[in-house]
Amino acid sequence: MLNAAESWMTSTWINHVVLGYAWTWPTLETLHFLGLSLLIA
C-alpha cells in the first residue's frame, strides 16, 4: 500500500515541479522554515 502511495505521489505534477527545478526545493524549504517561525509566534 505504501509502495502504491509512493508511486502515485512520484507521478504527480507536483513531484515534477519540486524535483525538476533547482530553485523549487530551497524556496519551499525557506517558506517552510518561515511558516514554522510564525507557528511558534
Binding site: 530551497p26 522554515f33 509566534a41
Partner: protein, 164 residues
C-alpha cells in the same frame, strides 16, 4: 582548521545522533527567536492592535532563550566544516570565500541587535503610545527587522545548497 579537529566537531560529524540533534535544535531555536521577533515587529506595525505591548513583553525573554539555543547548536554545526564549507567553500578555482553564509551571519546578528533595541524601546516608551500608532522611526526599525530575518532565513537555506 583546528576547529574541525575538535572532539565536538568529530562527535557532531560522526555520531548517529550528533548532526540530527544539532540541526533539530537549530530549527527550534530559529523558530522561537524569529517567530517572537516577527510577532513584536508586526505588532509595532499596527497589526493585532488589540494586543497590549505589555503582553508581548512577557514573551521577549523567551526569544533570547531561542537565540541561545541557536548560538550553541549553530556553533556546533559550524565546527564540522568551519573552513572547508562555511568560511570558505569549494569553487571553480579552489576554495572561495562563502559570501552566502557570511551574509546570513551578518543579518542574524543585525536582526538580534535590532530585536534588542526594539525590546528596549518598547519596554521604555510603549506606555506613552496610543494603541494603534507608534513613532515612524520605530516602524522603520520593525520593517528592517523583518527584512533582516527573512533574508537571513533565505541565505541560511541557500547555504545548504550552494557550493559543495
Amino acid at each position: 582548521m583546528w576547529l574541525e579537529a575538535t572532539g565536538l566537531a568529530e562527535w557532531v560529524r560522526g555520531s548517529p545522533a550528533g548532526y540530527p540533534l544539532m540541526i533539530t535544535l537549530h530549527a527550534f531555536g530559529m523558530a522561537i527567536m524569529v517567530g517572537l521577533a516577527l510577532a513584536l515587529d508586526m505588532r509595532l506595525l499596527g497589526w493585532f492592535a488589540g494586543m497590549p505591548y505589555a503582553a508581548l513583553q512577557r514573551f521577549l525573554g523567551v526569544a533570547w532563550i531561542g537565540f541561545l539555543i541557536n548560538f550553541i547548536s549553530g556553533s556546533a554545526l559550524f565546527t564540522t566544516q568551519a573552513a572547508s564549507k562555511y568560511v570558505f567553500q569549494p569553487g571553480v578555482s579552489g576554495l572561495e570565500f562563502n559570501w552566502v553564509f557570511m551574509g546570513k551571519m551578518t543579518l542574524v546578528f543585525a536582526g538580534a541587535i535590532m530585536a534588542a533595541i526594539l525590546q528596549t524601546i518598547v519596554s521604555r516608551d510603549s506606555a506613552t503610545w496610543p494603541a494603534t500608532s507608534v513613532p515612524g522611526k520605530v516602524k522603520v526599525m520593525a520593517w528592517l527587522s523583518i527584512i533582516f530575518w527573512l533574508v537571513a532565513i533565505t541565505l541560511g537555506r541557500l547555504t545548504a545548497y550552494l557550493g559543495a
